[in-house]
């Protein structure tokens, strides 16, 4: 039998934060977690969080997990690979997988932070290997760096579906499509834009009908649905994919709460069956608290705040310290985080437990796009999501998120120096920079970029629109690397394209040959031209193009057109090269024989 003042079930964002606050006040705390490491689902989150600096805004999830772990003190004991299997009136029973034995814990208080599990949906062959919960793919690729497929179908366009799609692209996979049964995308607009500008198709009013394959997934059939979500016959589309991700929601893991006599209520807005709790995260059972996704499916940030509130309330009950100020301030944080339109459902759900407060914020988007010709940010953030790193990172105070973090940002172009810090800080990758007429005939666009390969200065890339459509060629004029991996790529685009270009594609140029005889690639020729070898004869001497066995028959026309494109000159203006005999390689031996014949 182990005794502890506080048992925390689940070491994710909510459980860790509860343990941090309680242990900081001297409460002896035991954290039990099923997984192989602490952090819960934070360890697989590679995107930067929204919110404000107090709750790790603009920090990537897996980094947040590390920081939280660092805040645990000597009052905390951690048991990994340990599942709480039962809560009884007098004891809690845990199963330790490493020793393959159960043991009992007596705890004065219990904080249940068991999270949620993937919502499984029904379609033909949904049990086939290769059908994964979106979170599972995230675990594989971001925690263990294993990619279970090459081409994915994403089912569901909530934030998880959108984020995981983007992360699949980052891991080098292809996303064939994101299908969404509703008539609009469920997740944040900024997350949607991140995948759209890579050309990922979004199919609204579509759902998956069946997975194809015998031993494992080899494809998927997707079908359009009517307004009652019924499949419309004849609209089936087949996708050749080797993995299917289900991102249709999460179900709170209420089992332990229910067996501990916590009242379970059906609140669809919070994810279905959820335990009752008050504003302090206390359930109807005096010494049992809950926090995080178990108490309603929401964001990791709100899970962290809920965990802190629970930890503080428990510490207050145990130590009799007055922590009401801290608790109240965190409750106000929650009200602020839940003030926006995306939390409307959560507010409605929570109002069944306690009254919800509202705070006002500004819905007005900025219409001024700044003075033409000045290097300046363009903020494409049109939804009221609780977030303000653009404001707090701006060194000159040019960006303001008025009233509270739910307002849309405003920028004062007079104060802005065009430093680009906001572009790299924005968790939604929603800020770009533009400058018209940076050179005669050219504009500049700066895009935040989190993909590989990172292009090099001077490289020509394909400029893409907000929808991932090819617009024009662009030249990379600068690459600014940031330690947090959102790098800025400066693109020179033809005049007029600054308002349209929001992404680019690196040209695939491996093994693209121009001269087969001497094995000279397109890339080598383009580099040489950029170095100043600007006519055919110079290129010939430098790279040996046209000096091979074919005598330039294969490559000459290509090289001239590359020169013409690169230099912006018409072929007439270019030196087409000198022509000397022999036009085909002729052996000296043959020549000598010929000469001797004459004699």
């Amino acid at each position: 039998m182990v005794r502890t003042q506080l048992l925390v079930v689940g070491g994710g964002p909510a459980g860790l934060c509860g343990a941090i606050e309680a242990s900081r006040r001297g409460v002896e705390t035991l954290i039990a977690d099923e997984g192989v490491e602490l952090g819960g689902q934070l360890v697989k989150q590679t995107h930067k969080f929204f919110g404000h600096e107090g709750f790790f805004a603009s920090v990537r999830g897996f980094e947040i997990a590390k920081r939280l772990k660092d805040q645990l003190n000597e009052h905390v004991k951690i048991m990994l690979q340990t599942t709480v299997v039962g809560i009884y009136e007098d004891v809690v029973v845990l199963y330790d997988r490493q020793s393959d034995a159960t043991f009992e814990v007596q705890a004065d208080y219990i904080l249940l932070a068991t999270g949620a599990s993937e919502r499984f949906i029904q379609f033909e062959n949904n049990d086939l290997p290769g059908v994964y919960g979106a979170g599972a793919v995230q675990t594989l690729m971001n925690q263990f760096m294993v990619l279970p497929g090459k081409r994915f179908l994403m089912v569901g366009s909530g934030n998880i579906g959108l984020i995981v799609s983007y992360q699949l692209l980052q891991a080098g996979a292809e996303v064939a499509a994101i299908v969404e049964i509703a008539d609009k995308v469920g997740g944040y607009d900024v997350h949607l834009r991140k995948v759209k500008r890579f050309g990922v198709p979004i199919l609204l009013r579509h759902t998956i009908e069946k997975a194809l394959g015998k031993e494992r997934v080899t494809g998927a059939v997707v079908v359009q649905v009517d307004e009652n979500f019924q499949p419309i016959e004849g609209t089936e589309k087949e996708f050749a994919v080797d993995a299917i991700c289900i991102a249709t929601g999460l179900v709170p893991s209420v089992e332990l709460a229910a067996m501990a006599n916590v009242k379970i209520e059906y609140v669809p807005e919070l994810g279905g069956f959820v335990p009752y709790r008050d504003q302090n995260m206390r359930t109807n059972v005096e010494n049992i608290f809950i926090a995080g996704d178990l108490s309603g499916i929401e964001e990791a940030t709100t899970a962290m705040i809920e965990g802190r509130i629970a930890g503080l309330t428990i510490a207050q009950s145990i130590t009799k310290m007055d922590l009401s100020k801290e608790i109240e301030s965190l409750q106000n944080e929650l009200v602020e985080f839940r003030a926006g339109p995306f939390s409307e459902k959560v507010r409605k759900g929570l109002s069944k437990f306690f009254p919800q407060r509202l705070v006002e914020y500004s819905r007005e988007p900025q219409t001024d796009t700044g003075p033409i010709g000045k290097l300046r940010p363009i903020i494409e953030c049109y939804e009221n999501i609780p977030c303000n790193p653009c404001q707090t990172s701006c060194p000159t105070g040019a960006i303001e998120v008025p009233k509270n973090i739910n307002s849309l940002p405003r920028i004062d172009y007079e104060k802005c120096t065009g430093c680009g810090i906001c572009v790299s800080k924005c968790p939604g990758l929603a800020i770009f920079m533009v400058q018209e007429n940076v050179e005669q005939g050219f504009d500049l666009v700066v895009v935040p970029y989190e993909m590989l390969p990172l292009p090099e200065k001077g490289e020509r890339v394909v400029a893409l629109s907000r929808d991932g459509k090819q617009l024009c060629e662009a030249q990379v004029v600068k690459v600014v690397r940031f330690p947090h991996m959102t790098n800025l790529v400066h693109l020179k685009v033809p005049s007029g394209f600054a308002t349209q270009v929001r992404n680019f594609r690196v040209k695939k140029r491996e093994n693209v040959f121009v001269c087969k005889c001497e094995e000279v690639t397109l890339e080598e020729i383009e580099k040489a031209i950029d170095l100043g070898f600007t006519d055919y004869e110079e290129l010939r001497r430098y790279l040996r193009i046209g000096m091979g066995m074919c005598g330039g028959r294969t490559c000459r026309a290509s090289v001239l057109s590359i020169l013409s494109r690169r230099l912006g000159k018409s072929p007439e203006e270019l030196l087409k090269g000198h022509f000397r005999p022999p036009i085909m390689p002729t052996k000296f031996e043959s020549i000598l024989r010929g000469e001797s014949n004459e004699v």
């Binding site: 993937e118 290997p129 990619l147």
Partner: protein, 102 residues
């Protein structure tokens, strides 16, 4: 090979390898990863068969759904998605509920 060798955000955690056995065949895993991750990395998607004889893969990766039950070192019903792989570990496909002794 399904390992991500280069990533714009993440660094590889471990390159130390361990050997384990899948159905008697020696495979390589990275230290610290789960059995499930090691199998998927080695191109193995079928972890067993259901009672009805359908191929079984895994689904949630965090120990919640129990799709990934396999026989590990003779022990059936091990959730391999939350079981770290160990040197010399013997992993076998599980058919149905296997031979469980309660």
């Amino acid at each position: 090979m399904r390992r991500i060798l280069e990533h714009p955000i993440l660094k590889r955690r471990s390159t130390r390898t361990v050997k384990f056995y899948f159905e008697g065949k020696e495979l390589e895993a990275l230290e610290g990863e789960t059995v499930a991750a090691a199998l998927i990395a080695n191109g193995i998607d079928v972890f067993g068969e259901t009672e009805r004889g359908r191929p079984k893969g895994f689904f949630c990766a965090i120990g919640k759904c129990s799709s990934c039950l396999m026989i590990v070192d003779g022990e059936p019903n091990v959730r391999v998605c939350i079981t770290p792989v160990k040197e010399g570990m013997k992993v076998q496909r599980q058919f149905g509920r296997s031979d469980v002794s309660w």
